[in-house]
Symmetry: C2
Subunit: 125 residues, 2 copies
DNA sequence: AAATATAATGCAACCAAGTTGCTTAATTAA
DNA sequence: TTAATTAAGCAACTTGGTTGCATTATATTT
């Protein structure tokens, strides 16, 4: 299990994910929380929250790690497989609700799919 | 235009991409070529080769940058839009020939798609 | 075959993201 | 309230990637 103690820092992180609709990069979190919390703490809490199925992570177009809140996941399995969208203009990253089928590739066994759409979001169009 | 002079270092890089079927991470290239070539040079040549449509780049599942040879691209446009596959066992990354249609998302303008399949390759099954 | 112009390399220093080991503090249970 | 132990802080480190500038090598001109 991931989080076992309800520390002030865990509450802070949970609050951020509960009020924020979009995904957040770890780098941004560390910056935003500098002074409140050590960056090592941020990384470790995110790890634990992911173990618990509270958040999920993925890699953005520049190789940075992003986190977003899960919808209906548990510590046993991450169910919400979905694409992500990254806006080239404002930089915002969001989870898309549209599902997609895992493509079959002959000779390969596909376990996970990372689908990142890059373009311009509705606000920036 | 990217490459204008046929230096020893450029030839070395081109030779690697012409003999290697799979994608190569920049980190691996820098390691493999250490002693032969400065890492700054590796990064800069890769940039130029990409400008010329000779190689293309993408981000692997751990956020590392990978390069692979293009098929039929020019300095004007990178045409070969395709998914990539990363094997969790041996770590190899390869370009998939299967094409896919760019998904439409209401309200968004999608310019590029990064599709990375993660699983087990035929050698490791 | 020099001389020239300048593209490209090497080097060192730097930056940013992420990790590790260990000490100290805070939460929870007894 | 004490004790057990999870979790936070801190500092040092690692790795991938970038930048500025001096030097070298390529291609072109004379
Ligand atoms: Mn998501
Ligand atoms: Mn490819
Ligand atoms: Zn936007
Ligand atoms: Zn494999």
């Amino acid at each position: 299990m991931g989080v076992t103690r309800q520390t002030k820092q865990v509450k802070t992180l949970l609050d951020i994910f509960n009020t924020e609709n979009n995904a957040i990069s770890v780098a941004d979190l560390v910056k935003k929380l500098s002074g409140q919390m050590n960056k090592t703490t941020v990384y470790r809490i995110l790890d634990r929250l992911m173990e618990d199925g509270i958040v999920h992570s993925f890699v953005g177009k520049n190789g940075l790690k992003w986190y977003a809140k899960c919808q209906g996941c548990s510590c046993d399995a991450h169910f919400d497989v979905h694409p992500h969208f990254q806006c080239k203009v404002c930089g915002e990253v969001s989870c898309l609700t549209s599902s997609f089928k895992i493509p079959e590739v002959k000779g390969y066994k596909v376990d996970a799919v990372n689908l990142l759409l890059v373009g311009t979001c509705s606000d920036c169009l």
